[in-house]
Amino acid sequence: MIIEDERAMATEMDTFLKKAYRCDLAATGSQAISKLDDNTYDFVLLDLGLPDMDGLQLLQQARKICPDAAYIILTARGQLEDRIKGLDLGADDYLPKPFSLLELQSRMQAIARRKFALQDVIIPVGDFNVDLQKRNVYFEQTEITLSRKEFDLLSYMLLHKNRPLTRTQLGEHIWSNFADDDYDSNYIDVHIKNIRRKLSAYAAVDWLQTIRHVGYKIKI
């Protein structure tokens, strides 16, 4: 369930997430509570700035009604206390706005792996297997060593396979909120080049595509 009072924002999240999840929308706290009473949800994405009630209060109430769901707090208020309180009150994650939808989905996947143990931890790509749990890449039985950043990049792209990813999106995921201001820099390309070099020693990596002027895509 997406609890978000900004209609445009809710629509975009719905558009993006409905490819993988069934989504329900609520624009106010009371609406959210009545929906939580009637249905069960795996994920509750909760915007803290609701018109009719305090988001953190809603979080407490919602967790009583629906204790098994995973809660992710979304907020543009940027208050540090919100993050601490939110996690104390049992939220599973916290994303400050503006966030990338890709980042949201990747957090949801991570929670799903951790909390529901639903996700496959070993994902095949081309002739390789990527173990998300052990953070390793295998060709048949051989382990291929990637640096931490390279693995982060590969697993993030794998999660969002068949989707064009810009350098900005990738950079944001890997270097998070540190003010990296020069996006013309080619550091993402350097990492991609390294990944290609390391993997192509074993098998073809044609699944890792370059989209001219835009970025990269894993096509499976």
């Binding site: 900004e6 445009a8 924002m9 975009e12 999240m13 558009t15 993006f16 700035g49 543009a76 208020r77 940027g78 208050q79 540090l80 400050p96 706005k97 503006p98 966030f99 990338s100 939808l101 890709l102 931490r148 950043k149 989707r163 064009p164 810009t166 900005t168 999106q169 944001e172 270097w175 909120n177 540190f178 003010a179 990296d180 201001d181 020069d182 996006y183 013309d184 820099s185 080619n186 550091y187 350097v190 990492h191 989209i211 001219r212 002027h213 835009v214 970025g215």
Partner: protein
């Protein structure tokens, strides 16, 4: 010096001065009183002698002789009568020497001329000077003891009273001013005092603190609201673009345009983020409870930045003491501060250049020194690099000049001194001085 100490000193010293003065003056005073009393005694004796002579007649004493003299056994007092010249002189009292039975002794003597049947006689009543001042010393001693006792009692009373009087001031200082960390979260109860001056001082301080708190809370509310109002539209735009990028598959031209938009939006996002960060730091929204090891900090920052070194083939070296730990810091902010400086050292460096991080332990401070071989900073620019939206003009690198501004804000927030030494074209040295206490 504290007010109480000053008052204590003043009270004690002033009373000591009184004692010293008294000790100096006392002998003269006692002597003077003794002599005055003695003179009065001599006059009384004279009156009695005259009365007795009038009753009995002078001849009863002369018994046919020219003179009459009488003294006590120890020659402490004497009375004498002898014929005198015709002239009339008033009574005189003087300290003179007399020979009594061969002994030359000093007497205080009253001389009086009396006339009996046309015969003038000189009457002398004398008292030995040694007996006059015989009580001086014991008297002085007793007077000193009494005075000393009184002085000690008054000093004690004064000090107790002063302490009681100044107690509210001490309470005001300790609860309102000392060790108060801004913002003043706990509301203090008014200090108990009947002194209107202290009452006024306390009320004014509490009022000032409340006003500061209110302004501070307003600012906090503002940053929260500004954050919400600015970030929500950015957030909507970003998600719309992300969805659009997927919708446009596989058309590369429009995708390229969307990517350009996303890049611009990202720039906006970073600027807003940085400005809000500065406001939040200035609004004291970050707790400072972390212990930070500079060595580990630099290591984890370089893990983030390593890939950037390769781009320019930069050499990096860090010589930091392993056991140094800095206290009362906010780890995330200090990370950001050093990150920004190291990031700049890479960004503005030349190909095949180098970056060195070293430290220095001073008696009261710890210094972290970041040296680069970059483009440096011109003398006319060195004062403005920490200002918002400034960047080194000659650089061709895109930037918004907020990195150093954030660095300065974080440094100020932690009382860290930040200094720059730079030569244009040769490189810069950034020095962070952490206070150690």
């Amino acid at each position: 010096m504290k007010l109480f100490t000053k008052l204590t000193l003043f009270i004690t010293l002033s009373k000591m001065a009184v004692v010293v003065l008294f000790v100096l003056v006392l002998p003269f005073l006692v002597e003077d009183i003794a002599y005055k009393y003695n003179d009065f005694y001599l006059r009384e004796q004279k009156k009695k002698v005259l009365q007795v002579i009038r009753q009995n007649g002078i001849d009863a004493y002369l018994q046919g002789e020219e003179n009459y003299g009488s003294y006590t056994m120890l020659k402490e007092e004497y009375i004498s009568l002898e014929p005198a010249g015709k002239m009339i002189i008033p009574d005189t009292i003087a300290t003179v020497q007399r020979v009594v039975e061969g002994d030359t002794l000093t007497y205080r003597v009253l001389s009086h001329i009396l006339t009996d049947h046309q015969r003038p006689f000189m009457l002398e009543v004398g008292k030995k000077t040694a007996t006059i001042s015989q009580y001086n010393r014991p008297l002085q001693r007793v007077a000193l003891y009494v005075l000393g006792g009184l002085i000690i009692i008054t000093i004690l009373i004064d000090l107790i009273f002063t302490r009681l009087l100044l107690k509210p001031l001490g309470v005001i200082i300790s609860t309102r001013l000392l060790n108060r960390r801004f913002p003043f979260r706990e509301q203090a109860s008014p200090v108990k005092t009947s002194t209107t001056d202290f009452r006024y001082l306390d009320d004014s301080l509490v009022e000032l603190m409340t006003k500061i708190n209110e302004a501070f809370e307003k600012e906090r509310e503002f940053t929260t609201n500004a954050s919400h109002e600015l970030m929500t539209p950015v957030s909507i735009l970003q998600t719309k673009m992300e969805n659009l990028l997927v919708d446009l598959e596989p058309y590369e031209e429009p995708q390229k345009k969307i990517m350009g938009m996303m890049k611009t939006l990202n720039r906006l996002k970073k600027i807003v983020h940085s400005l809000l960060l500065i406001s939040r730091i200035e609004n004291d929204q970050f707790p400072k409870n972390d212990d930070v090891s500079p060595q580990l900090l630099v290591a984890s920052i370089m893990e983030e930045l390593e890939h950037r070194l390769e781009e320019k083939q930069l050499r990096f070296s860090a010589k930091l003491s392993a056991e140094q730990v800095l206290h009362h810091l906010n780890y995330d902010l200090i990370f950001q501060l050093v990150y920004n400086l190291l990031h700049n050292a890479i960004k503005y460096n030349r190909d095949n250049g180098s970056i060195a991080v070293s430290d220095e332990l001073l008696p009261t401070a710890y210094r972290l020194i970041i040296t680069d071989t970059g483009i440096g900073i011109g003398p006319h620019e060195i004062d403005t690099i920490f200002h918002r939206f400034r960047k080194v003009q000659k650089s061709t690198v895109e930037g918004y000049g907020l990195g150093l501004s954030i660095a300065r804000t974080i440094a100020q927030y932690h009382n860290i001194q930040i200094n720059v030494e730079a030569t244009e074209g040769k490189g810069s040295v950034f020095i962070l001085t952490f206070p150690l206490n």
